[in-house]
Subunit: 217 residues, 2 copies
DNA sequence: ACAAAATCGTACATATTTGTACGATTTTTG
DNA sequence: CAAAAATCGTACAAATATGTACGATTTTGT
């Protein structure tokens, strides 16, 4: 278990897998192609992962671990609850529309009709991890009177709909490029504004970041 | 151009293509598999369509034509503008989460790294057709004072986000089954309620269909 | 009914992918 | 340093997909 070259090799394999997926799609992402790209023999890949789906599943898990850490760190360092939520938006949006997330989703779409294990693996991070996180924040915000909502779970769902919408599917079918940081910020800000219009207590027009008129295209 | 058996044959091919896609996914959806399923020789398929992507593109186009017709009919038969929008919701939601739409989106995801033509073909119907439709309705509704919004395009985007959200991507990666009519209705109603909370004129609590408390799970 | 076109069934060549095998070489471990 | 384990490069077998070819048969147009 020498964690010296092995870690570096594993990293090279991950990078190669993402690169091949991004360039050639799931169909062409054979273990052979990935092995060549990573400058590793295919036998090693088979020994390590067994097959294609298992390799991608391990990518999904690694990505999920990283992402979850990042999200929790973001949440915990925000002072006010609503500020924490506002800070979460861009990070979350950036994560779910990143090239990494998108190629994995494409792989899951391709894996349908095959093992069908990739989709659930992704969902386990997606909805099943993110929504509760947001839900917790909203529950606390609700208890402290910063927002009004009877069901934090529903409110979290609404927030995520406003934030993410159909960006992922559009990225997956290849009609949308990766968002720029500015676009991310703008969209996250808009989502927050809209969400507060729905859930702010009474008619007190909450301001958080400068209201920032959106330039109507 | 005998439009007798040819039409029936074409229908059989379409059905077979959808069936194979649904069962085995894009990867296994070879022209051979489709031909066998349709009880048609593969040479015919190659002569008619040329290749896999072209066949699926023709599916996309046919589906888009049908869907657009259905949507426009739904819109035009509604009396009041908001009622028309409310009637549109379930139809739209049903369309974009239907098995047909989903397998085509999966195909587009799989086609990435190949021809990359499927995605744009789908988007041309998706966003590029639906959004303007909703936009028009909202513009009229805005002019007649039924709703308040400065940008109909933005409002349409919000409505669609609330209505559809991430249902498509979840369907595509296979973690969500086709929605029941009841779920469709409920979600469309919720989306409409939320949308009106954002865009209803002043503090007049619009009611449209019976407000219908959602049972908090 | 008869000629022309479309379709069928089948076969075929080519390329690709998936796993596995094995001797040679490198790296790790004792 | 020496034995053991991991990895490499290459080869190979089986399966599958793609696209084409061709004679036989069916369907269509006149």
């Amino acid at each position: 278990m020498a964690t010296e070259k092995q870690i570096e090799r594993r990293q090279r394999i991950e990078d190669a897998a993402y690169a091949v997926l991004k360039e050639s799609g799931y169909k062409s992402a054979s273990l052979l192609a990935i092995a060549q790209r990573a400058a590793v023999s295919n036998e090693t890949l088979y020994k390590w992962y067994g097959n294609k789906q298992a390799l991608f599943r391990s990518l999904v898990e690694a990505n999920a671990r990283e992402a979850k850490l990042l999200l929790e760190r973001t949440l915990h360092e925000g002072g006010d609850l609503l500020d924490a939520l506002a800070a979460l938006g861009p990070v979350l949006l950036s994560l779910v529309t990143s090239d990494k997330a998108i190629v994995l989703n494409r792989a899951a779409a391709g894996d349908f009709g095959d093992t069908k294990t990739l989709g659930p693996a992704i969902a386990q991070f997606g909805r099943d991890t993110i929504a509760p996180l947001v839900c917790d924040v909203l529950q606390m915000a609700s208890r402290s009177g910063r927002i009004i909502c009877d069901s934090p779970a529903d409110a979290a769902d609404i927030y995520l709909r406003l934030l993410i919408g159909d960006l992922q599917i559009r990225r997956v079918i290849g009609v949308l490029d990766e968002l720029s940081p500015a676009e991310i910020e703008r969209r996250a800000g808009d989502a927050m504004t809209l969400f507060l219009r729905l859930h702010a207590p009474a008619n007190q027009t909450q301001s958080l970041s400068p209201p920032k008129e959106r330039p109507s295209r």
